[in-house]
Symmetry: C2
Subunit: 499 residues, 2 copies
Amino acid sequence: MSVLSEKLQNYLHEIGLYERAAALMYWDLATQTPDKGVGPMQEALSYFSTKAFSMWTAPEYEQMLRTLQKPEEFEKLSPALKLTVKRYLEDYERNKNIPQDFYTAFVTESAKSEKAWEEAKRADDFSVFAPHLEKMIAMTKEKLSYTHPGKDPYDVLLDQFETGMSTAAVDRLFAELKEGLIPLMKRIAAAPQPDVSMAYGHFDIDRQKRVQELLLKYIGFDFEAGATGESEHPFTTDLSMRDSRVTNHFNEKECVNAFFSAIHEGGHAIFGQNIGEEYEDTCVSVVNMMGLHESQSRFFENILGRNINFWVPVYDEICKLLPAFKQISMEDLNRIMNNVHPSLIRTEADEVSYCLHIILRYEVEQAIFRDNVPVCELPALWNDKMEELFGIRPDTDAAGILQDMHWSDGSFGYFPSYLLGSIYDGMYLQAVKRDLGDVDELLRSGRIREITDWLITNIHHNGSMYTAPEIMKRLGLGELSAKPLLDYFNEKYAKIYNL
Amino acid sequence: MSVLSEKLQNYLHEIGLYERAAALMYWDLATQTPDKGVGPMQEALSYFSTKAFSMWTAPEYEQMLRTLQKPEEFEKLSPALKLTVKRYLEDYERNKNIPQDFYTAFVTESAKSEKAWEEAKRADDFSVFAPHLEKMIAMTKEKLSYTHPGKDPYDVLLDQFETGMSTAAVDRLFAELKEGLIPLMKRIAAAPQPDVSMAYGHFDIDRQKRVQELLLKYIGFDFEAGATGESEHPFTTDLSMRDSRVTNHFNEKECVNAFFSAIHEGGHAIFGQNIGEEYEDTCVSVVNMMGLHESQSRFFENILGRNINFWVPVYDEICKLLPAFKQISMEDLNRIMNNVHPSLIRTEADEVSYCLHIILRYEVEQAIFRDNVPVCELPALWNDKMEELFGIRPDTDAAGILQDMHWSDGSFGYFPSYLLGSIYDGMYLQAVKRDLGDVDELLRSGRIREITDWLITNIHHNGSMYTAPEIMKRLGLGELSAKPLLDYFNEKYAKIYNL
């Protein structure tokens, strides 16, 4: 290793310390900071984030990257460091063009906009949020004019959350999916619907937590390299390479949702816990490709968790830990967790209609950034698309365009990642079957860890070394396609709904 | 406020941010960092502690203090800032004389010594710890030769944990106490001993936690300004002026100990939660006087908590939250929590014999620093003193000199703070009775908050503005004396043991 590359890694390591402080404060704020301690904790979080940002934009740092970029230095670098110099120089180039004043204004406006969104949602009043949404759209466009002058804004937004993904690629995949999903949804709607009332009752929260622990261990979450907490919305955060934490939100009246949140966040965390240690202090250990990350949480949640065989080895143990769970038989559970039906709220949707929720958002984002549809027309556009895709229309904006927080802080282009994750999962599933055999049988016989190990070896270990299309190639799966996901849905739900 | 004093406060505020990061990491390490995340978290803690230390020792900081010390600037300052300039300049003067190399060596040796102590205790082998203890003693003496050249080392050590306390003062108080306690212990030992077997059973830990919450609320812990966690040893830490956190350690077989730990740590936290906000970014908001701090935790734990009337308003509620607690009647509880008897382990001792445990340590520390007794002779000295004070002799060093960790990291002079706290409590109790009336009656009738409010007004609000002797004067209680504590013990235990 050259002296200079060591210097770069030490520098990245130091940024990591500031980011660890900020991440720990974020975790603490979400899970345990008491009300009156929130202000001081937020102040400290913001202080250390700013310190990290100033290190990311320091001229001294640029100098290191530029020197390492020179051919005679570059050729001596490891593949991970080559990628690091390349990616971080691109990031640096973009960020340095953002005027400091604009950056500060953007951060301030985001915070205001988030608060306005909360209020608007609570009051079910879009007009409270509209001026802020307008501003976030305008500022996002302005930001992109600095970082990516002359490029299509929405292409850039997609690429930002999923490296290498363009509107053309996403258009093709989503169109393929939409075409297959709408008829499937209709056939399911025409079939007899299950009784799922046994999902509701009284489920002791302390005991739900013990089930969560069981489920996390079962899927391969390493409690020596992770921890759990409680927060308003479930999330995962990595505090270091072997410290991935998940949160959950529990409800005394219903427990199945929390179990799936645990499996979902557990999937994110297992990814974080298994990135190769040799990638520490390189860009490879940081996975900002959200489609790739979601593909892992959703593989555990949907492909494995919503397969009834997943529950065979643990059902009795769960009933022991949470006696109230006995009211839900295995057959009931299969219907509850695979209860496909049109619904208004994305986060409560089944795995099939979930895809349509994302496609709706993708189309509205295009309307915003491509067609410049005015903000005041967006609620009606949303509702029209709900009718088109689901055949239902929200009564309120709170259950319509105001339901998600993503746009309030400017995270345009994030939604598609969720669905890209599922599309990747359809493809991974093919490879898992090819390499390990029948998944139902693996799950039923308690061999889920073989699947986890496959994911670790083929995906997690490599961190962000490869983009999703590269991973598919390495796995011999060819071009990205939504067909495997559609095939999986069609086969699975034909059985469940006797189609 | 002058521009310069504002600059000083901003500087102290920034140090506070680094210390907040370090404190949060400490809290996290103790309560939830997973094993494999410990290394990175410790590294970050050490990084931010060092940043804070370098700000405490920066020439720029000294310059600010020196300028503010000049009469024309000093007279413009608030009392809290006057104290801040005075105290912090003294600290600065001392710390600047410690050679950087020595400081680093001391920190490194402490860490090694702590580990060696753990191993020695586990293996019950003093010889593993002896060379490290020798080194910690020598290094402590060396450190004091830099910070306080020419002064008596043990005097300095005492003063370090309890500002204004000298060996002469402590000698007088402890002698007074020892003289009264030994006969009391003998009289109690001669009385019939209670059956306390009902203290053991099966007590669900999740339910013990609910009782903890009840007890903390009951004594006045503000959950909007604090949080709870679990750790190997209970402790309290303040993350900001309105964010005081307590931990506890639960045992399924016995719950009374954990309840008293909760009340004890709750007392520390209530102090932190109620320091006047106007003292932010001054030395007054930082309470390093450990005797003063212990006086608050011990007032709640012993003076209030070990009074059976404390439990009258909450007993039924506790039995509802923790049904297993019903096996302990109020009369049983009174005997369990006031079961005075000679014992080997300080942390498990009753409030009377606890005092003798501290006096023993105080005498051994004097043997070390005054009489230069060689380390190899200390285990026997410890055991001899156990026989003298308690009439029992430990079979092992693990239950003797190796039981406490304090000396392993060089915290010589800390032990006396615990007992000073109790001595202060005896005096506060007089003032509480004078100002609020009969304490038994206040507790029995559920008016404990009036006592908490008295403590807040007379002690907590002022932070470290006043030393313990100054507080006593302000309360009209005269010179420090152990007599009130002795009177309290004599009266209380005469009743309980029918002496």
